[in-house]
């Protein structure tokens, strides 16, 4: 009798085991690896099913933008574990789907309606957003991604100037998971000093901060099997207002003092010799001041470099080195300040000068500036000087 009681007790207590409610086996999940967001063309708009709203458009929608979301899904059985056999085309391991909606969630809900598996965002690596959307307003896309707890904050958001769906379809021949390759491209760019660490989490912090404007990498599809980081998109508030070229990313990183260095720069000396100097360490010091109610900033950038290549000449020496350093300082002083002026014209404070002034002169900020809009006005005409101190520390294996 007692034994029976114990058995029944154990049977009943197994009802209290949890964890089962949220059980989704791997093959029951639609693992989304990459998303691309575009603005849909006019005639495509007809295909929005009424999943989250009734006939007649999205409630309270006055701007009527229709998004086209392209999702890349991993097909679980197709991804091989262990060493790669080769020959297999990577496009076959991922499934690219399209969905339309008036908001991100609307589009995802429409997508879910078409899928047998539950959409899972835990492996989302990269979100490509079309430049047109970023130039309008990026906050509407962000909200869903911030709220959804499955989305990693270390995933990347990138901007594309062509159709975003092109980028997500770039599939390298040797990689099993295409999106993984794309996000690895970005992660390794950070390690190589070619890209700031502006993944989701950091980007969102910069976006909402007062006196800081955010940046996002711009990527480009190359030959339909890889991507290239072709610059940075810089923001004013929630809108993208301009872009840089790849070398200007180096400038941004140098002013921010982010290491390791990675960009090389070509320089010519008086006698016609050409040198390629690669930066390997960058440091910067910000000095902000408010005098007579006028803010000013002085940025001292220190870059240490190495000579990587010498062409059309073969007589490198100590004196030559000093000449190159001198030339580099002049060149970078010029280009850094030019770029800075362009930023000022666009009122994009990506170097966080506003935040620094707010931090160090709270009284000035709270009396005179108060808002981000006012700061943009002041920032546009304020005095900012960048002084670059380029030092060459080595020249590789060659003496001359």
């Amino acid at each position: 009798m007692k034994k029976l009681f114990i058995i029944i007790f154990f049977c009943i207590s197994s009802l209290f085991l949890t964890g089962c409610w949220d059980r989704y086996e791997l093959e029951e999940r639609a693992n989304i690896l990459g998303l691309a967001v575009d603005i849909a063309e006019e005639e495509e708009g007809n295909s929005v099913p009424n999943v989250t709203h009734e006939e007649g458009g999205y409630p309270g929608n006055d701007k009527d933008t229709l998004y086209k979301v392209t999702a890349q899904l991993a097909i679980p059985g197709k991804i091989k574990l262990g060493p790669e056999k080769g020959g297999e085309e990577s496009q076959k391991t991922a499934w690219v789907l399209e969905s339309y909606g008036y908001t991100m969630k609307d589009a995802m809900a429409n997508l879910q309606q078409q899928l047998a598996e539950k959409i899972y965002y835990g492996h989302l690596q990269i979100i490509v957003v079309n430049k047109k959307i970023v130039e309008e307003d990026i906050t509407d896309i962000n909200d869903f991604l911030k709220r959804e707890y499955e989305v990693r904050r270390t995933a990347w958001m990138v901007v594309s100037e062509e159709a975003a769906s092109n980028i997500i379809q770039a599939a390298p021949p040797l990689e099993t998971v295409p999106s993984l390759y794309l996000s690895n491209t970005l992660d390794n760019s950070v390690r190589l000093g070619k890209l700031p660490r502006e993944f989701f989490g950091k980007f969102w912090v910069d976006l909402s901060d007062i006196g800081v404007d955010a940046v996002l990498p711009i990527v480009k599809n190359i030959d339909n099997d890889r991507i290239m980081v072709s610059g940075l998109a810089y923001f004013k508030g929630d809108k993208m207002v301009g872009r840089t070229n790849p070398l200007q990313i180096g400038q941004y990183l140098a002013v921010k003092g982010q290491n390791p260095g990675g960009y090389s720069v070509a320089i010519a000396t008086e006698d016609g010799a050409n040198y390629m100097v690669e930066s390997y360490e960058r440091n910067s010091k910000f000095k902000v001041k408010v005098t007579n109610g006028k803010p000013s900033a002085f940025i001292n950038v220190e870059i240490n470099g190495m000579i990587e290549e010498e062409t059309q000449s073969n007589n490198l020496s100590e004196e030559k080195l000093y000449e190159i350093e001198q030339k580099l300082c002049e060149l970078s002083d010029k280009v850094f300040n030019e770029f800075k002026e362009k930023l000022q014209q666009n009122q994009s404070d990506i170097y966080a000068i506003g935040a620094r002034i707010r931090a160090q002169y709270p009284k000035y900020w709270n009396d005179e500036v108060k808002t981000d809009e006012k700061w943009s006005e002041i920032y546009k005409d304020m005095d900012i000087q960048i002084k670059v101190d380029f030092k060459i520390k080595g020249s590789g294996m060659e003496w001359k």
Partner: protein, 366 residues
Amino acid sequence: MKHSDSISSIQFASIVTGTMVGISLLGLPRFVVQEVGNAAPIASLFGILCSLVGVVVVTMLGKKFPKQTIISYNKIVLGKFLGNFFNIILIVFFLLLMGLETRQFAEVMVGALLPSTPIQVSIFLIIFLCSVISFQNVSSFAFIHFFYLPLSIIPLFLVLIPSFRDIEIYHLLPIFGHNVSINDFLNGSLRIGQAISNFLVIAMIIPYMKNPNKSVKSGVWGFLLGGLIVFSLITITLGVFGEVTILEMFWPALVLGRMVQVPGEVLARIDAILIISWIFAVFTSLLSYFFFSVRGIAEMLNTEKHRVIKIIGFLAVFCIALIPQNIYEMYDYILKITTVGVLLIIPYPLLILMIAKLRKKKGDTI
């Protein structure tokens, strides 16, 4: 009172830390920053120092009455009627706190970990876990705290230390905030006091120490360790996110865990570790609340029937946890209840200590 328990100083300190480091940690930075903005680190330091007064007073009371718990010396100092009145307030406070904190725990579970699991199940299980542990014996309670403490604080530092490189100095300056009035500042410190007011549980434990005279020292050490964790968590979270972004989220510390990249990329996601260690911390805190309530009631009623009290307490806590309608309402209740908690940790023990001095009441010496 006769007992065979003996708790060492280190165990005592780990009870203080283990109770302090609990549920509120995930959301705490948000509530402090809401009041004081950039001044959050200073305000929390101030809050911690003020609460330290509470620890010293409570442990001094323990030294004065080395054989009685707060339940007994309340009656001695304030008289039977008034003493029992305050005892009921204390017990009700801990029961309410336990209910609401359990709910907070369950909200995090539903919001960030197990969205399809019914919230009642998470609540049921964690309270159930607390109530199957025997309170007959105080040393087993101390052992549990001692065992789980490293498990709950080491992963926390694993998240905090790699976050250092993402700190922006302009998020932390100016250290006194923008236009923070004295009132705001005190409110911010109050939030800290509210979060760590639960250390009062030590007033139930001091008589079971090997040497109650050491309680002041080890209590302060335990408190300082817990305070260090709270302070560094708030400072680092603020440094990484800044005052604007912190206010956008419910649990900044959890998001911090999701943003951290461990050097070498051994682990892609570290937030799972953070959550697991946080569950340990939740468990030890809730266990302390339940311990206080159950043993408090038993002592008031002069009975040893802990099991019956536990079942009733279990039901009460479960019901309390289900009262709030949504997460905003829950935080509303928590802020209200814990304000009472601050009164209970600083002014109230001071009052007792003064009255005890005036009335020349003293406990039995060993």
